[in-house]
Amino acid sequence: MLSLQFPLLQIINTLSSKPKLLSPNLHNAHLSSRINPHETTSKLPLRATAQDVAVNRTVAGAGSSAEEAVLPDGLRRELMPKHVAVIMDGNRRWAKVRGLPVRAGYEAGLRSLRGLVELCCKWGIRVLTVFAFSCDNWSRPKVEIDFLMSLFEKGVEEDLESFVREEIRISVIGDFSKLPKTLQELISDAEETTKNNSQLQLIVAVSYSGKYDIVQACQSIALKVKNSLIEPKDIDESLIEQELETNCTEFPYPDLLIRTSGELRVSNFLLWQLSYTELFFLQSLWPDFGEAEFLEALCSFQQRQRRYGGHGL
């Protein structure tokens, strides 16, 4: 179907747009990363892949870091999405296919997330929102949930230092009331510590529901009406938008949504915010998501004629 990308598409576009000859080693490494997106590239350290691509160096625009943004061959700076959202699906299936326990899938998924964060920083993405845990996921086995909560805690603890160093701001959205107290405190601490960082904003949706997001926005507005801050007649779409949980960012509407594992739905994620978001569904499972897959999604995004139904945002 058109909704699933043919992996060689990017090779065509790269060959069409940049027929210049690279040196043998660089050329072959570049092509092999495209032909076999599920193999070596996602396991290569980023430093190696940075050497393997032609560099498109531009000076970052106003409001962002003065460091040069390095893009792989085939990506255009002016067409990069500002906000990328990801539904990280397929961790359990990945583990099952390999005969591993479910926790191995989630741990591998965490590694993929770290890789994606690094790529977003490198390629100048301003906001990355990831769907880590849905409200619907609370019905999973307790053992699995407990492991996930501990993995979230471990992730925040281990990566806080690098977030500070890399100027990454972390924000967490969702219904916190069900999370363990220790995790809630860790999240608050991490958000406070990184609130002034500006390189990348990483929004992690935990215990999140798109419908709940809309409902809590309405409840917030109701309280403002009760406190006479606004009149009921002033309630409109833009007011609701201001109260959604994504109001923690300058760019609340994702330009691109990526979902792995081949499922073609948004599963109650950012329902309000996804109206004009380009949807990209990948067959690969989340732990297999790496630079090649991200590049594929970005190239597809840049190629597609993007029209917001005639309305600009």
């Binding site: 058109l2 009760k226 309000w272 996804l274 109206s275 004009y276 949807l279």
Partner: protein, 255 residues
């Protein structure tokens, strides 16, 4: 010195030949990829044709038990192609789809409602059909027309309705045990303002952009979304294939 010059000359020749060889290899690879792409495109067209002719067995009898409600999103510029929309609906009726929601941002399809219903002898409006199950037994299709006003705007209106209801009762802050705004109450309010359609099981997007263009956000929680390409290039085979793929999907709803 002469030897050194000779060595340098040989090296330059090797580099030139090597470069030429790589360039030839590059263009061969380019050609091979183009052929692959052409073959892939041809295979898809052929498959679509075979599906349309009913020659592929697995697409012949679709089990539509899980497809209770189908939504079609059309880009507003393409929505003016009323004959194409009618043809698509006729295909869906032939396949056996009973409930269809037609959506475009600007309400072009709403304006074409009369023309569409006139051309489709077996179609009834959703708000007219209501819960009339007798229509489901015949070769009938029940249509709903939606636009941007039924999306975010409808949620804002529903919220307003609830605000006014509880504002009058002086209970906007809510009790500690029972919040005022809950998903069921918001859903009920959306229904009350005239946007009662159920959540579609499958949403097909016809247009250049692979997004749902503001389809009512409250209704797409677990909806399968498939991009079909431009309406002008729609194919019966592609439609069958999309619906068939949907029938093979298993959702665990987050569990």
């Amino acid at each position: 010195m002469d030897l050194e010059d000779e060595v340098k000359k040989v090296y330059r020749w090797i580099a030139k030949i090597g470069n030429l060889g790589l360039r030839v290899l590059w263009y061969i690879l380019h050609f091979v990829v183009r052929i692959c792409y052409f073959a892939h495109g041809t295979a898809r067209v052929l498959e679509s044709y075979l599906i349309s002719c009913g020659l592929l067995k697995k697409y012949k009898d679709l089990n539509l038990r899980n497809l209770q409600y189908l939504a079609i999103v059309v880009e507003s510029e393409e929505a003016y192609q009323t004959p194409k929309v009618i043809e698509l609906l006729q295909w869906l009726a032939t396949i056996g789809v009973k409930h269809v929601c037609l959506y475009d941002m600007e309400g072009v399809l709403k304006k074409s409602e009369e023309a569409i219903l006139e051309k489709l002898s077996n179609a009834t409006l959703f708000k007219v059909a209501g819960e009339n199950d007798s229509l489901l037994d015949k070769e009938h299709i029940i249509l709903e027309f939606a636009s941007l006003t039924d999306g975010k705007e409808a949620v804002a209106k529903a919220a307003n309705l609830l605000f006014l209801k509880y504002f009058k009762s002086g209970n906007l802050g809510g009790d500690e045990e029972e919040p005022i705004f809950t998903e069921p109450r918001v859903a009920e309010a959306i229904g009350a303002i005239g946007c009662p359609g159920p959540d579609p099981d499958l949403l097909l997007v016809y247009g250049p952009a692979r997004c749902h263009l503001g389809f009512p956000p409250w209704r797409i929680r677990y909806t399968e979304i498939v991009h079909m390409g431009p309406l002008k290039s729609m194919k019966y085979g592609s439609l069958i294939k999309a619906i068939y793929k949907f029938t093979t999907v298993h959702q665990n709803y987050g569990t």
